[in-house]
Structures are given as C-alpha cells and as structure tokens.
C-alpha cells in the first residue's frame, strides 16, 4: 500500500468520525443493525456453512489436479470441450478471484482464444464453490440454483457471441504452450477422492439441515430430528478416510490451503456484512437507506429494475462473497427476485477495476462488447426469473 493511500484512509476515517451524525436515531439504528446482522451470520452461517465450505474449497485447491483442467484450454484443444470446460471449471479453478484474470489472459493470448477465454472470465467468479454454497444458504436455494445455471449457460453464450463477433481479428496472439503445474503422484484413485469430497459435502448439507415447519410430516422433520447423529457418523467416516488414505504431508497442505481461504475471505466478508447491515439492515428492519428508495430502484420485476441492477452490478466491485450479504440486505428492503438474480449474474464477473485489466488485455472495443453482452443477458435472465418466481 502506498503511503499516500494510507494517509487518504486515515483522513477519510477522521472525517467520518467527525462529521457523521452518530447521535441521530437513524444512524444509531443503522449502526446497531450492522452488528445484529453480523451476529446473524456468526450464529447461523459460520459454523455450519462457511467453515465446512472453506475446508471443501481447500480440498479442491489441493487435491484436484489443475493441470488436467488447463490442458483443455490449449491452442490445439477441441473447441466444444474448451467451451464446456471453461463454463464449469470456475468451480475448481477460481476459488480466489485473483486467479481468474491471469487465467483469462493466458487462455486469450496463448490458448484456445477469445471464446473460451471470455466464457471462463464470465463464469469463473460466479460459480466458485464458496459463492454457490453461501448464496443458496443465505438467499434461498432457488437463487443459488438460478445463479449456478445462469452463470454456466451464459458463459457459453457470451463466449460464442464474442468468438462470432470478433472471428476475424485474432491479432497479437503469441503461439506457445502453457507451463502447467506438475502432476503430482496420485496415491489415491478417483473414487477415493470422490468419496472424500462427498463426505464433506454431506456434512455441510446435514449440518445445515433447516428446521422444518411445525406441522411438517414425513422425511424432512425425521432427518432434522436425527441430523446431528448423521453428522457425527459422517465425521467419524471422514476421520477414517483421512487416516487411511492421506499422508501427513497432504493433510498439512489441505489445512494450510483452508487457512489461506479463511484468512483471505473472512475479513472481507465481515466488512461486507457490516456495510450491508449499516446501509440496508436485516430483512424486515430499517437502517440507513429508506426502503422506499430501494423499492423504486430495484423493486418488482420491471425492465428498468432489472437493467438498473445489471448495470450497477457490472460496475460495482464485490470482494469474494460480499455480494451475498449485500443482496440479502437489498432483498430484505424490497428488491425483487429478478433484479437480485440480474445483479448476481452481472456483479461478480465484472467490476470497474476488472474492466480496466480486461481492457488492457483485449482492448477497449472487445471489452465494451463483452460488458454489453453480460448486461443484456443478465437483464433478460432477471426478467425471466422474476416472472417464474412471480
């Protein structure tokens, strides 16, 4: 960080402390909401959702071979495979958003070209495993599923459109091969890795099993009543798996990778929750921004609301996962389901800073077209989703 930036931050904090009318009832209420929302996250989501999700993300980054995915992005790779892999590989390659841009630049300039590169650029940040899990958990499974499906299908559409529009101009491309990460010796078979990942996913699912409605009958409340026994059994299974299939070194790497994600993402998420709580409050509680403003801007499911959400999402920068509490606040203050999806689809993939980097790689014109495609697609998806959710 530059010294000048530090000074800027200190001055901003000072001016905020000096001039914000902290005594005003609305500001007091907003400040309280910020911490109540943080408490909600701490009580509801950290132990049963985020921590298991971090371990899963850590496991993916250590045990899933990245080399095996990257080879589908080479210059000689089969096009159809390139597109399919690009649209889904964000789940395993892009847990940290800072890895997306170098991958994109690599695929664009040395590998499979603009189509798969933009497909990956679009889907990567939106479908990483942490984002999908937290979206489904906090905002409801419908939005979680819609986000995943929307991100994957639009990635392919965006990639194909980009390849079609710019089919003539593939200048400035250096042909060369990638340096792939080393394939590590595999002591386990694929099914063993699958069982291991699946056990963790099941722990996540059952630990987070929601309380059924009071009059519900059948399987759902039955599973709820025994969920902790299932979780304990799964933990014992996981312990056995770890002891018998993994070496100490591998376990250490896994814990380290998990710790890396936590260190990187937790502070940002806490900040995001506080800001969302301060500005928007928990669902059903007012905070700084009056609900009527939100309802006018992004309420209902009009074309205007969806378009506004898409454009705002495209320019705004969301640190990893912070889009979730912000959307929770917006939904609680009257945002429609459609605009929420539009923001989720346009938001994490694009931001002003990332546009600048993308622009430096593929030029202003292509970047503008890319952003326009995403805004149009997100708006359309928002309209359709809002109409389905009625």
């Amino acid at each position: 960080m530059k010294e000048r930036t530090k000074l800027g931050i200190i001055i901003a904090v000072f001016l905020g402390a000096y001039y914000i009318p902290w005594n005003h009832p609305t500001v007091r209420q907003a400040g309280l909401e910020a911490f109540l929302m943080l408490q909600d996250y701490a009580r509801l989501h950290v132990l049963t959702c985020l921590i298991p999700a971090f371990f899963i993300a850590g496991a993916i980054s250590v045990f899933v071979s990245q080399a095996s995915v990257l080879k589908y992005f080479g210059a000689q790779a089969n096009r159809i495979l390139s597109y399919s892999v690009a649209s889904v590989s964000g789940t395993i390659l892009a847990v940290c958003s800072c890895t997306v841009l170098p991958l994109f630049a690599g695929i664009y300039t040395r590998g499979a070209g603009i189509g798969p590169a933009t497909a990956f650029l679009y889907s990567g940040p939106a479908i990483n495993v942490l984002a999908i899990i937290l979206t489904g958990r906090v905002l409801g499974w419908q939005l979680g599923v819609a986000r995943a499906v929307g991100a994957v299908s639009f990635a392919v559409i965006t990639g194909l459109l980009m390849a079609l529009i710019f089919r003539k101009d593939d200048a400035d491309r250096t042909n060369g091969s990638f340096v792939l990460p080393d394939e590590e010796d595999r002591s386990r078979r694929l099914w063993q890795d699958t069982v291991y990942m699946l056990t963790m996913v099941l722990i996540l699912i059952f630990a987070a099993w929601a309380k059924p409605a009071p009059d519900a009958t059948g399987l759902w409340p039955f599973i709820f009543s025994i969920k902790w026994y299932i979780v304990i059994a799964l933990f014992i299974l996981l312990g056995v798996i770890l002891k018998s299939w993994f070496s100490r070194e591998e376990l250490k790497n896994w814990v380290n990778a998990t710790w890396w994600f936590m260190k990187q993402i937790f502070p940002l998420l806490v900040g995001g929750v506080l800001v969302a709580g301060f500005l928007l409050g928990r669902p059903g509680y007012p905070a700084l921004i009056p609900e009527s403003y939100i309802q006018v801007l992004v309420g209902g499911n009009s074309l205007w609301a969806n378009l506004f959400a898409s454009v705002a999402g495209a320019f705004m920068y969301f640190a990893t996962l912070t889009e979730v509490p912000i959307l929770q606040g917006l939904l609680g203050t009257g945002m429609g389901q459609g605009p929420a999806l539009a923001l989720l689809l346009a938001g994490p993939a694009l931001s002003l800073p990332s546009m600048i980097v993308i622009g430096s790689v593929m030029g202003l014109k292509k970047t503008a077209v890319f952003c326009a495609i995403i805004i149009v697609l997100s708006t359309a998806a928002g309209m359709i989703f809002g109409w389905i959710m009625g």
């Binding site: 800072c98 890895t99 630049a105 690599g106 040395r110 250096t174 340096v179 890396w260 790689v361």
Partner: protein, 77 residues
C-alpha cells in the same frame, strides 16, 4: 542470477516473494529479485496460475507457494 516472481498481488504471491527473499538472505546467494504484476508480462511466460517463480528465464513453479527446500534447489544450494 535473475529471479522473477509472477503474481497479480494476491496474498499467495506476496508470501512467495517473502519466502524467496528469506532464502536468499539465509543462503547468501546474490540475485536480482523482481516482482512482475502486469498480466500481459505474466502471460508471456506461459503462466496462467499465479504465483509463479522464474529463475534465469526458466519457469520453476506454477500455481502454488514453493517450499523453502524447492527454492534452495533452484539456487543450486
């Protein structure tokens, strides 16, 4: 000896640079260390996953933080 650390500024890249400098101090090897953050320059090396370390023009590791022993072996120690 010329060492380049490729990374966009994420935490792992900073950790990599720190480790390389530590090993240089410990072993007393004199080398020029340069941090490369520009994405286009990074791509020129064929690197898609950061952090990466390049020693005398040769890419030594991609996509993860090297271990100290790895760094020592690249330095010929």
């Amino acid at each position: 000896m010329d060492i380049k650390i490729l990374g966009t500024g994420c935490a792992k890249c900073q950790q990599t640079e720190k480790l390389v400098r530590e090993v240089l101090d410990e072993t007393g090897v004199v080398a020029q260390v340069e941090k490369v953050a520009d994405i286009k320059s990074i791509t020129k090396y064929g690197v898609m996953l950061t952090p990466a370390v390049v020693v005398d023009g040769e890419v030594k590791i991609v996509g993860k933080i090297p271990k100290k022993e790895d760094i020592k072996s690249w330095l010929g120690k």
